[in-house]
Symmetry: C3
Subunit: 351 residues, 3 copies
């Protein structure tokens, strides 16, 4: 469960400049404040520099500039946070799945499971599915007909893929996620909703991560498409025929409505909602809980909502907000009147 | 996996007027822009009429008015979108479940499963449950004690029904949905929460659809009630003792608090939240992410929230909003003062 | 399924003053309006007092003050709602799990399952896990390596615990909940996200309840921590390294971002969102759908958002809101101008 790695080995692994004994043994990772004498720490955010001098860490990942004046052991790297990301996997206590197919798993005769894949207890793999080498399918997973999972993917216990979901390489899917569910497609006739079969699939690129209990619906006609390197946090809803560009990341509880297209390298903070059938260009950042009701064509940061207040003050603001149209008209009229009684001034055209 | 159906057969199935060869073979569905020469398309939304002339579709579902001047093959119908909904199921690649009870399923001795039902791998069906003819219970489903599922229902893999959930006919439940969970009922005594057993059940009508990872809690005392034809999208939360009227539809990520009643033929867009113990009348439409804090007694459309802005502008708006009560008072005072210095005017009563 | 308990036994169980025959048989619970002649009801909220006189209930739990003038049978108690909470469990039709380990469950050789625990069908319990006496692990649950579940816990069917999740006594976890998922940790280098292993665990206190499809992520380095008596409703997202103080309750659809700390005895209404790395002090109440972007240091109630309006009015308000900064500047200018033409007044400093 606990790895022990020598500092010199870590320096070599990272291509870091070592300051200290290469024989020092590292057994884990911790923050500067919490690290013990056998733990490696890191300094990435300048606001934590104050904790560096008193840290008990065995060694610290830091930049050359921060290493000056620091007398402890260190691994000097160009990007300490990225270096921390890389070494974190060496100390991960996550159990490695046993190789092969668990005897309780139910695999269709014509499914293809690579001998170097791992299939967990009570997993179900349907007709025509293909599981590549190095893939882990956790216990209780359901892999629908004709699904494809590329090399080195990792599916936590209890992930559902409906039929015709195609997944690239090195994709991670957390527990409870459902890929390929039938999107919300109904035709209304005389007040009654008639279901539209969702005949498209889902296409997921390489190096994607999909969080706990996140839902990605299948396409109504063509596929729903998730680009390479996309990272989706927990409890996210991706509706049918959404397209997400490469390396875009979304925090938890985001909801994207049908057929909306999101560009590359976007970041959506938690709780953001997008209406359907809009386009978001590349390099857009949307702050938390923003409601996006139209396309965005310029990179940059966008927001909606109101700032939190004590509830009593908020009630006044909320009541006033409903009077805002009236206030605006009164202000304009007042400007006009004041302009009339103070000739030469031009109050109403200001601002 | 791929159906092939002759155009004449589709015309007969729909009661459509056929224009073109009844022998033409159709293998699938696509949009006007994407359809190939063996695919059927449809024109429902007028804004897509521009794509009609250049479509490569084998034939198009359209209205008589749109068929005029169109020289391609067509199926002329009264409601093309409804016609598309109907034919979509003919081309659905969704695998049909094998009939009967999978040998790995665990069925209580006194549960009643109709011979014409299908029970998937590793499903668990508890004591006293009744599964009607034509029902599909997917792999890994859990059907609690005394549950009833009416004819021709379809439960995706991994659906949980707690005990005493009664479901009508032709109900579709997507993967990860949980029906009958114990609602959030606690009595607070001296700062400590004491759990209240949730002794009611859930009653679900006919032709209901429940989306991926949606939760419908059981009643605290009486049942939680979902009417006929209700459509719930993914990631929705329905709290204990909510009542939802017939043919109401909710998009993803909606949350309804306890004991709230919603009328018939309502539509709630994504991310809407309703407080508890309120009544929403029939034919109400609530726009996305609206916060509903009181009952609605008039049909119509309702909204809350603020429009998205570039983040820098938004920060100014948000700061100003907190000053709004102050602004309103200053405006009123200014009106009074201007009224005093310009006698005969009546600024402060305007608007 | 239905319990029958004599009124005298209930009085003894609650330490209540009995008014009526101790031999009267009670078979269930209902509201004052719906109770039949064999059902117990309660009066806790004064607004329901009007239903007391006409109630057909066999007996009513009420306070001494409400018992005056009421001629029906009663159990007089100090806190009727708490008394209702206590007796509710006596009438709960929830099936009791069979004792022991279901033969289909898959238990690692070195996992420790107390003989007085119940393990459901198709459950998977991994290496080194420890399940205490009186614990129910539902069907399809996955209990990861080295997890600990304290005495008398109840896990609904289909709960996932990743590895290294430690849970106190009497903890209830509803179906679909996922504890210990890998939080959203990525280092961005040149536009590409690199995964950070989440090496911490989750620590959950005694008497906690976790709702349907709620996600609690494991810590990035140290543990995510949920205090004693915390109640989390459905569809909640708790990110890595969040800390929640004792007896805090959250309604459905709340999202808490990483490393945020919440005090004791707080209440978060439905749909609230908190950004990461902030502190919320004890005894804070946050109203529904509020966006919390900074720490709260004073107990009290807090809100954000706007009040619902008919959509046409809302569109005007939303448009005006974007002009608010302009309006504020124009108001200030007008005050200045009016102040100049009415010397002796002091309009611009008011408010």
């Amino acid at each position: 469960m606990t790895a022990t790695i020598k500092l010199g080995e870590l320096a070599e692994f990272l291509g870091a400049t070592l300051r200290g004994s290469p024989e020092k043994e590292i057994t884990g990772l911790a923050t500067l404040q919490e690290a013990g004498p056998a733990q490696l720490s890191f300094l990435a955010n300048p606001q934590y520099r104050k904790y560096l001098v008193d840290s008990r860490a065995a060694a610290v990942l830091l930049k050359a500039a921060d290493a000056e004046g620091f007398t402890g052991d260190a691994l000097v790297v160009g990007d300490p946070y990225l270096a921390y990301a890389k070494v974190s996997h060496l100390f991960d206590p996550k159990p490695k799945a046993a190789g092969g197919i668990h005897p309780s798993a139910m695999i269709a005769d014509d499914a293809q499971v690579d001998p170097a894949a791992s299939i967990g207890a009570f997993a179900v793999i349907e007709s025509g599915a293909r599981i590549a080498a190095g893939v882990t399918v956790g216990a209780h997973c359901f892999i629908g007909a004709r699904c494809e999972i590329g090399a080195d993917g990792w599916l936590a216990p209890r992930v559902t893929l409906y039929h015709d979901v195609r997944i690239g390489q090195r994709v991670v899917i957390q527990s409870g996620a459902v890929i390929g569910g039938e999107g919300f497609g109904f035709a209304n006739a005389k007040g009654v909703w008639h279901k539209i079969a969702q005949v498209g699939g889902v296409l997921i690129g390489d190096d994607v991560e999909i969080g706990v209990n996140t839902a990605v619906d299948r396409g109504a006609l063509a596929d729903t498409v998730i680009g390479n390197g996309v990272k989706l946090d927990n409890q996210i809803q991706i509706a049918h025929n959404v397209q997400i560009g490469d390396h875009t990341a979304m925090a938890a509880c985001v909801g994207i409505s049908g057929s909306t297209r999101i560009g590359k390298h976007c970041m959506l903070a938690g709780g953001v909602g997008l209406v359907g059938h809009i386009d978001i260009c590349d390099n857009v950042f949307i702050t938390g809980m923003t409601m996006v009701t139209h396309s965005i064509t310029e990179p940059g940061a966008y927001s909606s909502g109101t700032a939190m207040q004590p509830a009593a003050e908020w009630r006044k603001s909320a009541a006033r907000l409903r009077q805002l149209d009236d206030m605006a008209r009164r202000l304009k009229q007042l400007e006009k009147r004041v302009g009339e009684v103070t000739p030469g001034s031009n109050a109403s055209s200001e601002g």
